[in-house]
Symmetry: C2
């Protein structure tokens, strides 16, 4: 039996130094969120296959880790050619939250403001800041249809990012309904909008020509494709341009007002702007969508939007819902590149004892020290020569030899 040393593809071991960075960053984010009245909840990493299939997750549905049926169910499925899996790992925290809220809504306040910090799984091509096992930090407001909910999610997420030392980032904001109105204006038909959005979402990567080619290949109206292509080539995705195209519009007014509020709050440390080319891949969004873009970092560091339809799929009653998710792996990636160091926790102390000392004595000696230090007990080596080099290499700041006081390494 050969054992494999490496973690599975796209997944990572976390060594002590990075773990300290992750714990610090998670605490900064969590404390910011709880200060604003968001309550932490938890959901399983596994969901029923039917729920995942019905979640309108866009491309993510192709990336689900599927868990094999067991026992008789598996034998039946293999025999009959039926689906081999009945559970899957979640690809984000939004579907589990919608199920959670639907199942527990009688016991929850309204509106319900919650935070989740947890893992999700996507079997995608691994790349910088994009892992197959990933942590997300989500805040959501359920049961509030006012635009203050969007404003709060974005302002509080900005504050969490600020607490991590991030600055100069931009909240890019769009509204799915304005995007739809624009595409209809170009001559696409209602039934083609979702498909056109999927292509437009790749605009950053494949350009105007790439998007137009995809649409033509799907037999969309030539005149619509041409008008859309000219619009993309012009590269003006501002709210003014969209207003000129589709006229005055309540959604655009709302986005415009939101952007004003957020820029006042950002005060120059970060900013908010309209961007019609912001699509967001998931099919479940129904209103505003938004991202945080960080200068010099391709791709967003946070993403979210309004998904007023998802809870209703569980309960039959539509419930307003909006969420914002920090891509924790990307944040950690940037913090690592910046050599960020978490605030110092207790310094490490190596407490040496005579070899063979009774453990009760060693343990008693640790007690008065462990308030101020993280104390590691170890036997005094026969040769002391290499000890200090080893202690320094292993990050010990202090040492205590038997019968002597604590001193710096």
């Amino acid at each position: 039996m050969t054992m494999r040393l490496a973690p599975p593809k796209g997944m990572a071991d976390v060594l002590p130094a990075e773990m300290a960075l992750r714990e610090w960053a998670q605490a900064v984010i969590l404390n910011t969120y709880t200060d604003y009245g968001f309550t932490r909840i938890g959901t399983p990493a596994i969901e029923d296959a039917e729920n995942l299939a019905g979640s309108e997750g866009g491309d993510n549905l192709n990336l689900i880790y599927q868990i094999l049926k067991r026992g008789d169910k598996l034998a039946e499925a293999v025999g009959s050619g039926a689906q081999l899996w009945d559970l899957g790992l979640r690809y984000d925290l939004t579907l589990p939250l919608a199920r959670f809220y639907a199942a527990n809504r009688e016991a929850l306040p309204s509106p319900f403001k919650c935070v989740q910090i947890d893992r999700a799984y996507r079997a995608e091509r691994p790349q910088k800041g994009r892992m197959r096992e990933l942590t997300q930090c989500d805040i959501d407001i359920l049961g509030d249809d006012s635009i203050n909910a969007e404003a709060e999610l974005i302002a509080v997420t900005a504050e969490a990012l600020g607490g991590l030392g991030f600055t100069g980032f931009t909240a890019r904001i769009n509204d799915r309904r304005a995007l739809r109105g624009t595409l209809l204006k170009f001559g696409f038909e209602e039934g083609q909008i979702a498909s056109a959005c999927v292509s437009f979402d790749k605009f950053d990567k494949i350009g105007a020509g790439g998007v137009a080619d995809e649409l033509s290949a799907r037999n969309m109206p030539e005149s619509a494709v041409a008008a859309f292509r000219a619009f993309m080539d012009a590269g003006d995705f501002s709210i003014g341009r969209v207003r000129a195209l589709i006229g005055e519009n309540a959604e655009l007014d709302a986005v415009s007002g939101l952007i004003g509020e957020l820029n006042a709050i950002g005060g120059g440390a970060w900013s908010a702007e309209y961007d019609l080319s912001l699509v967001r891949g998931q099919g479940y969004y129904t209103g505003m969508v938004f991202e945080m873009a960080y200068p010099g970092y391709g791709g967003s560091i946070a993403g979210g939007g309004r998904y007023d339809g998802m809870i209703g799929k569980f309960t039959g009653t539509p419930t307003p819902a909006v969420g914002f998710s920090i891509g924790f792996e990307r944040i950690i990636d940037i913090l690592r590149e910046q050599n960020a160091r978490p605030a110092q926790s207790k310094p490490k102390l190596a407490m040496l004892h005579e070899p063979g000392a009774p453990f009760r004595e060693i343990f008693a000696e640790i007690q008065p020290l462990r308030g101020a230090y993280a104390v590691t007990a170890m036997p005094k080596p026969e040769k002391m020569g290499k000890l200090y080099k080893k202690l320094e290499r292993e990050g010990y700041a202090f040492v205590r030899l038997p019968g002597e006081p604590v001193k710096p390494v």
Copy 2:
């Protein structure tokens, strides 16, 4: 498409009150461990199928959630009748740690003392305190073959449990080698020891007769089964009885010394005792095994032992290793039954604003309050009558009406 409200079988949603309890308990455990020089690390929840299969996990190997192969690999496997899965969810944190240490040992101190708090998965029959998705809190010492490693793991775990308010628990300790010696003495053959241990592990549930029946059914020597049955019927699993059977023995002396040290440290708040009937199910244990038994709670609340062979399966070089794992779900179960409440975090404040107030003003008003409170902004309702009932029900301790000072609800 029907969406299912309940989490998958044996898994649970965690509501805000329980989440607060879990976060508190986890912090108590983690802080205790880091005070004693244990460093936190992380590993993926997914492992390669080969590693899981080769991990000597005993019965747990039958409980693995198996992840379906993807794309061409799946098609090939279905076509050829080969194994359908190439990844699986881990059933504990020990195999991932052994792989982690083997892969990263050049970068780690020696001995390496680490803590993991993370999830594992077992597709077993759910019951009280036994979930299919479960959190474990593990400490391990790698690279130390002295008995001080066992002593430290047990003493520090006892201190973590004490920090959670647990008292009166017992560390039950055995040594696999003493158990083997005893079984050989009864007349079992070397090749039957592992199988006899699997049955003896069920002694608590199926009794002496049940164990004997299983052994007979496996055609073990009748005289050995009879001698073992008489021993079980007598019910004396003390170290004195074992010494009388197999004679003086270095392992028993070591266990006896360890128990003395631990009882001195426990000082009556908790205790340690020898118990030959303690087996522990995993096949990977090579020396001492131990559990924490809590009065009135069937089954253990923590379990561990020495597994000197596992890292060598990855590296080819045997490395001493010993670990102790708190069953976090059982701990939470007991704390819930005891109505334990975590230390108070920031009190909840409802900050009411005039409906339609600009968000920047609402946000500015939150700032000076959020040092002392967890602040939830909400519009002032049209009818104030039901407000206070709602705030009380939702756990708000304070309220601030527009233009008024903060006051208790």
